[in-house]
């Protein structure tokens, strides 16, 4: 009964999430928006890399560089981290500050987690479209090294699912924290996503960071997630990248795929437990201080 009720909550929340995301305009404009936004973010990196090549005078082509594939794939899948973290946190912030419906949802006899995750599910769906478009554009227009015939599908799919679950629950923790902050709660998700962007080997290997930062990187599940996704999606390019450097350039070269998956799962579970704890604690404090339905706009 409880499961059925939770599923219904999830479904209704997903429907609401879709309405919030999509019904502000006509389908054509929404499609344009969904395409342009992810591509523009990607193009910043593409042009940065083009500038690097041009000013280095190496004469190398972008498509020949395994690092370019590394960066491109990382950036594409990072969209999940940014958008889903944002999406989950935003649910609480938006409902509380702008539409002032949070208290009604909160006191309803539903599973609040199911509600939040339902809203997040739509974010994941929309982001998936963005990720796919980016990858297709990268492969067709920029020569990104993804060969569908070489993809390790089981490894890739399992990594994707585990990583997404971890991101969702982390978003919930951040959402809990946003109960306690003012309108600047928007900065929480930007900040945490930024932490992943810098420290998780999204667009450059973690070995580029100072040693102390690499230690932090190795604690974050997103680091292993990025590595697993790349190895699954473009195993050849990752092998080429390793071969082009005399040292363990990714910092995770010593992990085989099985061990990598194990570390990803374990770190995700730890973050899962931590995130749930953070959310519950933040929720308790928010109720004590009467912040469930406060507004802080200025």
């Amino acid at each position: 009964m409880a499961v059925k009720s939770d599923l219904r909550t999830f479904k209704n929340a997903a429907w609401l999430g879709w309405q919030m995301e999509a019904n502000w305009t006509d389908p054509f404009l929404f499609a344009t928006y969904s395409i342009v936004k992810p591509l523009a973010g990607t193009l910043i990196l593409v042009f940065m890399y083009l500038v690097i090549i041009e000013t280095s005078g190496s004469g190398m082509e972008m498509a020949d560089s395994p690092y370019f594939t590394y960066m491109f794939i990382g950036n594409a899948f990072y969209m999940y981290a940014a958008e889903v973290l944002f999406g989950v946190t935003w649910v609480i912030h938006d409902d509380r500050e702008h539409y002032m419906t949070l208290k009604q949802v909160y006191i309803a006899p539903i599973n609040f987690y199911a509600y939040v995750l339902g809203r997040a599910a739509i974010k994941i769906a929309i982001t998936t479209v963005g990720v796919l478009i980016t990858l297709v554009f990268g492969v067709l227009a920029l020569g990104v090294g993804i060969d569908l015939g070489s993809v390790d599908w089981p490894f890739f799919i399992i990594s994707l699912i585990v990583g997404l679950a971890c991101i969702c629950i982390l978003g919930l923790a951040l959402g809990g924290i946003s109960f306690l902050t003012a309108k600047h709660g928007e900065g929480i998700n930007e900040g945490i996503a930024g932490v992943f962007y810098v420290l998780s080997g999204v667009v450059f290997p973690i070995t580029a960071l100072p040693t102390w930062a690499q230690s932090v990187s190795k604690v974050l599940p997103v680091t292993y997630w990025m590595e697993a996704l790349r190895r699954g999606l473009s195993p050849d390019a990752m092998d080429q990248l390793k071969a082009s450097y005399p040292y363990d350039v990714t910092g995770l070269g010593g992990f085989d795929n099985v061990f990598l998956m194990l570390v990803l799962v374990v770190s995700s579970v730890i973050f899962f437990v931590l995130s749930l704890g953070i959310f519950r604690y933040a929720d308790l404090i928010a109720r004590r201080k009467g912040k469930i339905d406060w507004t802080s706009a200025y």
Binding site: M100, A182, W294, T295
Partner: protein, 325 residues
């Protein structure tokens, strides 16, 4: 003297953005209205009648589709900046303002949009907070206020700029009896003691409109159905008056039954309590004195008396065909 508010054949039609969103809605249909300076004017109507649409046009937030509207002699469409200098508006259930600011700060902020010097603004704010019983809340953050307190603050915001014309859209919504009474008294005093101060008030509380307003307009489906003083409006419904009396036990009621102007008469003798309950339906007020004279002549002692006249609600139901939903 030019009127405070005048509308001529004022019409407002709302068209949907897309056809599938529904048909056009005529929110105001050829509304002709004239409110004199110094009036406390009431606008009654069910939900969706067009009250808020009218207020929005008069407060320069909305343009008419056709017709004209003038506030303080200025055309709301063309001379809106002049109109804005002379008006303010308060809506019921407002959540405007910033939760992080104190009551005083919020009110001060809005005075700055009307070019009021800070010293003058603060004096007015303190005075109004005192009058509305909120002096102890002036340094409280707005987000800590109860709904009623917040609404009081909103009402103060309307008065603090000392407008010539104030639009009040259900100002006592959500307020308790005492708070509502304070606000109503202040509104009446403000109009009475101010120099040509005008209030256009919309409300769902019939008693409020009846008590406060010199004239009332009833609006439904965008049309003004009637516009007159409350007493005259009530007479449109029926001329009958109900008179209920408790008198000392009265055996012979034949003379009293026969009094001219008594339309219907019922009585009930309560021998245990030694009381006779009399109930008359009269044509107008004239027979009342005859009844009282007859009771005195017959030696009956009047224990209690209650006279019921047609109410605005009766008028409303008759004209609009429904109560307030």
């Amino acid at each position: 003297m030019q009127p405070a508010v005048e509308t001529k054949d004022l019409t407002r039609v709302f068209n949907p953005k897309k056809k599938k969103e529904g048909k056009s809605v005529t929110a105001l249909d050829s509304v002709d209205l004239r409110i004199e300076q110094g009036e406390l004017f009431g606008l009654l109507g069910p939900n969706g009648a067009g009250k808020t649409t009218l207020l929005k046009i008069l407060s320069t937030l909305l343009l008419p589709t056709s017709g004209k509207a003038y506030v303080a002699g200025f055309d709301v469409a063309k001379d809106f900046q002049e109109v804005r200098k002379r008006i303010n508006m308060v809506s019921g259930g407002e959540v405007s303002g910033y939760g992080l600011l104190t009551v005083r700060e919020n009110l001060w902020m809005f005075t700055q949009f009307y070019g009021i010097k800070s010293r003058v603004a603060n004096e007015r704010i303190d005075s109004l907070l005192e009058k509305f019983g909120m002096a102890d809340k002036k340094n409280e953050k707005v987000r800590t206020l109860s709904t009623g307190m917040r609404q009081k603050m909103n009402v103060i915001r309307g008065f603090v700029t000392d407008p010539d014309i104030l639009f009040l859209d259900e100002p006592t919504l959500g307020l308790d009896v005492n708070a509502s009474r304070i606000i109503r008294e202040y509104i009446v005093d403000w109009v009475k003691n101010g120099k040509n101060k005008t209030v256009l008030l919309t409300t769902h509380y019939m008693a409020e409109a009846d008590q406060l307003c010199g004239r009332i307009a009833i609006i439904d489906n965008g049309k003004i159905l009637v516009c007159d003083a409350p007493q005259k409006i009530k007479k449109l419904v029926k001329t009958s008056t109900t008179l209920s009396l408790d008198v000392s036990l009265m055996m012979d009621k034949s003379r009293i039954r026969a009094i001219r102007g008594v339309d219907k008469f019922t009585s009930f003798d309560d021998a245990e309590k030694d009381v006779t309950h009399l109930r008359f339906v009269l044509e107008g007020d004239a027979p009342v004195s005859d009844i009282l004279s007859e009771l005195t002549r017959s030696g009956s002692k009047i224990i209690s008396l209650q006279k019921t006249e047609p109410t605005l609600e009766d008028v409303f139901i008759k004209m609009v065909g429904k109560g307030f939903e």
